[in-house]
Symmetry: C2
Subunit: 104 residues, 2 copies
């Protein structure tokens, strides 16, 4: 069998990104960032969870290269640096099923 196999390095990077998105809080965070940068404290208020937890979630997103952070004064602002994740979510909302009949 000669099936397509993607380079392992690429797969690992993609997995890291999907893993980062695979949590309700983090996915909401990404959605919230669609309209512009936000300060850590905004997420804390929005979710009502511990600051440390918010910070950890944001660092997962940052390590995956989905968001970047910038310190200004006392605050740290996060913003989306890989907007295509929003398109991915949109695509999934469309529930875009399509039966396959491409093989045999």
């Amino acid at each position: 069998m000669n099936v397509k196999r993607t380079d392992e390095k690429i797969i690992r990077k993609q997995v890291e990104i999907f893993k980062a998105l695979a949590h309700p809080t983090r996915l909401q965070m990404v959605q919230m960032l669609s309209e512009g940068e936000l300060c850590v404290c905004v997420f804390q208020e929005a979710f009502g969870i511990d600051f440390s937890t918010v910070s950890r979630h944001l660092s997962v997103l940052r390590n995956a290269g989905i968001v970047s952070d910038e310190k200004r004064g006392k605050n740290v602002f996060y913003c989306l640096v890989r907007p295509c994740v929003l398109e991915m979510c949109a695509c999934l909302e469309n529930d875009g099923h399509c039966r396959c009949g491409n093989a045999e």
Copy 2:
């Protein structure tokens, strides 16, 4: 603060899909299915892991609605029913970063 929040039900579904993709073996499986349906045994050979493990991975993908299965004779064939996941992967390969300056 009045930030965008996505409906929780939608978020949960999206999380399930991202979670399903967030594993190197499963992501490779999806890639391999890009060219058409494949039988469980093909995956088993390709990865050299236990049949039970292959089967479990496939069921994660099926439960998330990414693939569907069809039994024919002794074999079970899986195929992609949500091809947009391939576009998502392609998008991530392009490493499409873009600094934001959209807020203030």
